[in-house]
Amino acid sequence: MPPQEDDAAENVRMIRDSTRAVVAADGDLSRIRAQRFQQSGFDPAIFATMAEMGWLTLRLPEQAAGLGLGMAEYCALTEELGAGLVPEPLIGAALAHRMTGADLAEAGICVAAWQDDANSLGWRKLRIDGGRITGTKRFIPDATGADSFAVATAGGVAIVAKDASGVRLDSEWTQDGCSLGTLDMTGAAPLAVHAADAVDDALDEATLATASYLFGLSGRVFAMTIDYLKTRRQFGQPIGSFQALQHRATDVKIQLELARASIASAAATLDAGAARAARSAAVSRAKCRANDTALLVARETIQMHGAIGFTDEYDAGLFVRKAMTLCNRFGSSAVHRRRFAALLKEAA
């Protein structure tokens, strides 16, 4: 094994271990459950812990005070967070840092506000005119708990404070107990403006990290379902002994393994510095697989659990609701199939 590979594998192991700081090792989800629909939907203290571990800047190079980690490590991190359903907005905050390339510590909790419309990956609609921004950014996860936003515009990435004049934030609850914000700006003056060169790359990385979060939660709830199949008895035998359920469980496992391979190969493609089209295609492919797998897992989780799977007090539902909330974030499968097809055509 070449030494670099050794290093990467070691980094991945270390970052997985480090998530023990925020993910209960025994799979306990009482904090997650209690957090739902409360205040901002996440815990600022835990977010602060994440920041202290350097995760917000893990994709920035060491010379920019980042951790200089690759996508393999980032995906390992979000996979663990997904398995633990950690609600703190790491991906949104890391995206803000990656888009700007800057240390945003002075902006408080700063999350990315990039999206212009539903069902599109577009982010270039707004402009900065005379140092001020007017317009709307939508679908901003966990906006209520943020102090500022990294607003992607055609003229650069602007850091806009939530309490700045001309800024108005509306927010709605999502099924997972977190929220989505809409940021209306009318002549808002940014705290700072950074070049927008990195936005496309940063979005691809956040998309892949989200795919890995989905994969993490899918794997965890599938394991819960398998446990249930082994223990729940009907007609005098464990229901996991019924062949129809065995075959369906196997079909889920197949999709999970495809998702694992798809995400790993996309991470490797990004880490190898492949061409832009190849990188985006790999990310779209991984997001499609992660989305579809998460929804398959969600469906089978409820069905295989039966009535108890449809109760809110049983933990499996927490995973289902997270899957519903995340499956279209950074693009639904339809959006990513379209992008993949366009890239395929380009390449032909």
Partner: protein, 387 residues
Amino acid sequence: MTFAPSEDLRDMPDDEFRMLVRRFAEENYPKDMPRHSQRRLHWREVKPWYLALSRRGWLCPNWPREHGGMGLSAAKQLIMIEEFGRHGCARVNDIGIVMLGPLLIHHGSEQQKAHFLPKILSGEHIWAQGYSEPNAGSDLAAVRTEAVLDGDEWVINGQKTWATLGNDANWIFILARTDKTVKKQAGISFLLVPMDAPGVTVRPIENLELFDEFSEIFFDNVRIPKGNLVGEVNGGWTIAKALLGHERVFIGAPRLSANALAQLRALAERTGVAGDPAFEDRFVRLKLDLDDLAALFESYVEKLRRGETIGADVSILKIFQSELFQRISEEMLQVAGETAGLREPLDGDARLHAAGAYLMARPTTIFGGSSEIMRNVLAKAVLGLPN
């Protein structure tokens, strides 16, 4: 509380009857009650509509006229379902109407009929069903709740679960084990229990729609009169299993899927996905499925009209309807894009609620006979495959 016997509508032509029902709904469905609600309403919310139906004598279209029902054909019952659905009328607490009433009419004593049926018609008794237990889900005959005769009273101990709107009910019918020495189906009795009896505790369970649709009900030395037994001692399983044919047809009616497909269309228009050829091709597939389901459903209704008996193959309707409903709701999630996970409907319009539809579609393949159990039954009873 009084209620009127219905005028006799059995011979009215179907078209005329439909118009009558439609007008009734428009004129009598309380203006301040929610229409097209995605979730079931509680008794406190739905009571005015229940009483309006009761006053007209239209509460129990399925019961014979001599017991205060309308005595309607399956076809006319379907028209009522369709027209009430069209107006968006809420479903009332109907377990007494649909389940217990017909069961008492077939198996109850004269005294039981005289006592209980009028109280269902008046809304005085709201019933819950106590079949499922934590360890008797799909395997319903595995009930453990026990009833022991002590003098003139049954003493009940145990736990029931998944009682729909159980926290609205003041009576519950249960299956209880009354003989542990015989094979499991043979030792079960059917009992009627007032929920205000000492020792009954109700614990509501929130479902994934964050709605307390179900309840767990605990029985701790609950004593009821001996006469609250329906049918024979240890004869409860047969009573409980006999489902009326046309109810097995109605449970597969295409209405839920049809509503969902209309919602999918509305949502696609709202999110700008409509017109995308790949979406439209998937939409057409769902529409073809819905139309073929409607054709199959009609063929069963036609059989009912001709008075033919309905075989075990009727569960095809329920399997396909519920799974189609789920597929449509899953397409809604796709189409909703970033709004898929919102807790509340888009623009406050109940039709534009992907997550709501997705969740609402889930239990349809679980309750009322899971798709797995129904496939087992079809494989054996219809295809004749071996055990």
